[in-house]
Amino acid sequence: MMPEWGTLALALAIVLSLSGAVLGLGPMPLPVELNLKLLRNCTLGVWWALAVAFALLVTALVTHDFSVAYVAKNSNTELPRLYCVAAAWGAHEGSLLLWALLLSLWSVLVARHSRSLPPTFRLKVLGVLALVQLGFLLFTLLTSSPFERNLVVPDEGADLNPILQDPALALHPPLLYMGYVGTAVAFAFAVAAMLTGHLDQAFARWVRPWTLASWLALTLGITLGSFWAYYELGWGGWWFWDPVENASFMPWLAATALIHSLAVTAQRGLFRQWTLLLSILTFSLSLLGTFLVRSGVLVSVHSFAADPTRGLFILGLLVFYIVGALLLYALKGQSLTQRGGFDATSRESFLLFNNALLVTTALLILLGTLWPLFLEVFQWGQISVGPPYFNVAFMIPMLPLVALASVGAHAAWKHGALWRRARGLAATAAIAMVLAVLLRSVYPSGGSWLTLCGFFAGCLILCSSLALWWWDLRASFGLRHAAVGMVVAHLGIGVFTIGVTGVSSFAIEKDVSLAPQESAVVADYRVTFIALQPVKGPNYDGLGGTFELRHANQWLATVESQKRVFHAGGAPMTHAAIFSRGGYDLFVALGEDLGAGKWSLRLQYKPLVRLIWWGGVLMALGGLWALVFRAKEVKA
């Protein structure tokens, strides 16, 4: 009976969202306060209904109720408990339910923490959120309900895709979804602003923490996903420009731009129309992300579900929300006028460039992701747009952005007044250059001029952010918490830039063929194949190769790389051995039996690779700082 209760809960949530949308956006025969109260209760009701539905799905997974199709398809009795729970978002249907659940969570939070807003405005915000919720719930129930029953109950379920059985990946989708869905708040805010014709600085200040929170979740989710890909997919890359990765990265870029443009709107009341447009864009890219991942139009590592009707449904939703919002923008956006100007070297103008560059990057990535699709639809041939394009499209706007941010962070609002820091900034740049040259000289191959540019950009933003901290502390007016958050996040950018530059300039990858007791050398490190032995895991068997790593004849570690074959069937999976120390990682992946006692192995030397994720963590910490301490600020 349990799955039927789940369906019922979903249906209840749909009815409540519909009522919420009507209450918020429809004609208002009731007094505003009563209307708002009803709407808030609807929001709360949706949350409870979805929480029950989700709990039922998790229960079905944990109790191995294979009469539910989703459970039979994505879990089995051998699967460890943690992954039974994680299987709730390991595939299409369940992850949509999670999407809806998280959206209802955001809506409840918005309903609770929006008392400072005028009631009519609040009604509209919650109404828009309910409308978004309604669309996604309809999609879930009509095309992809996780509660569908099997006609014949199997004795044992299929396996959760083995590459998904990992703690980091258990956490990755919820974080990412939290971020995706969070952009709906900024969207609802923008639509409400256009509907009511009001957008003052207080509103912008109000929406900032919400955007920051969703950006924070996106940052952590992407960082975690990248780390997972690195150690779990078995070939040691940290970013593949895979369409699904792009799908999460584009909203991140847009949300980053939005945080910066909201700063201008909140502080100076400028960029209003642009902020609105950017809110719509960010949410559109999040929706597009869901569309790209879930429709099966793009076949990639993550595309486990392929079903065109679902795609069409999501496309319909996408068009409805995006075109609707853009139409509204065309009609009402112009009425939100603003006054005031700024100098060419003011903070506003740096933030303008920041936005232009971030949005350009997002659009370039969008172009590369969608272009092959267009060609295919119109039968103009088959192409693939891979890392070479994306690397260029990412780097050309991003390196100047990092440099601009290093200077722009020192500029004052309205009048810039950069001259007061001119000497200090020049010194900072000189120090950054020296550091970059030193850093480059650590690696014998030296790299190209691009390596130097990358190191310089990374060091520049590090030095300039630290200098900002130091100068403003010494000037004894201290840094506001939002500024501390910015400094920390910018330090993260610097760390990330150095990591990316290091690993893309100096990484060494080598496929070798070795028998036990033989060894190979990769970048001064000697890898010796010690032995091969069978291994046994909870739901897989396999072979493990032990390897000894030495540097200049000094023992570093003995590590094991495994080839796993899961009981539930499917292809074998490589579990790479990764040794990490200080500035580099050594990566050994066991390949296949080549005959004559030899095995193929992939050896990799990855300098500075960890900095990529530490950079992501720092950015998130900066966001968290700004978010948590903002409340304590005297002046926003």
Partner: protein, 147 residues
């Protein structure tokens, strides 16, 4: 400058920036896209011989050959109408198997394809879209199911 002029200059600056970015992007695009061909097109001489491309098809059963203990491997990719021999040195992906769809990236030399990268499908349900399409164009009726 009046605010109006300032705004105008701002717009001009943005337009120039966008144009520049677009030009660079399109250039990067032209240089960096990779075309896909199936074995029939390669045999018909439609594939370029001077630049790398992607070749996709099914790995013919029993065609995988390797010198024992060496990383050199060769196999035959087919779309069930025509076949091309592929040479590769290195580690093959976990999901590489005979009778499965794969994509190889590399270039043609004397009728054979020399790959620098071999991609296999990522799970049981997945077939590279290009391979799926090319199989649709050349249905595998020509090949008798193996007993």
């Amino acid at each position: 400058m009046t605010p109006r002029q300032k705004r105008l200059w701002g717009l001009v600056a943005i337009a120039v920036g966008v144009a520049l970015a677009a030009t660079l992007a399109l250039q990067a695009f032209n240089k960096n896209i990779t075309y896909f061909f199936d074995p029939s097109q390669v045999v018909a001489g439609q594939a370029p011989s001077d630049r790398p491309f992607r070749l996709g098809g099914m790995v013919t059963k029993g065609s995988v050959q390797r010198t024992a203990g060496s990383l050199d491997v060769s196999f035959v990719l087919t779309d069930f109408a025509h076949s091309v021999t592929v040479h590769y040195t290195g580690m093959l992906p976990d999901l590489f198997r005979e009778g499965q769809g794969v994509i190889a990236h590399g270039s043609l030399r004397a009728g054979d394809f020399y790959a620098d990268e071999v991609l296999a499908k990522h799970d049981e349900k997945y077939m590279p879209p290009e391979v799926a399409k090319s199989l649709k164009d050349h249905p595998p009726a020509a090949e008798k199911p193996s007993p």
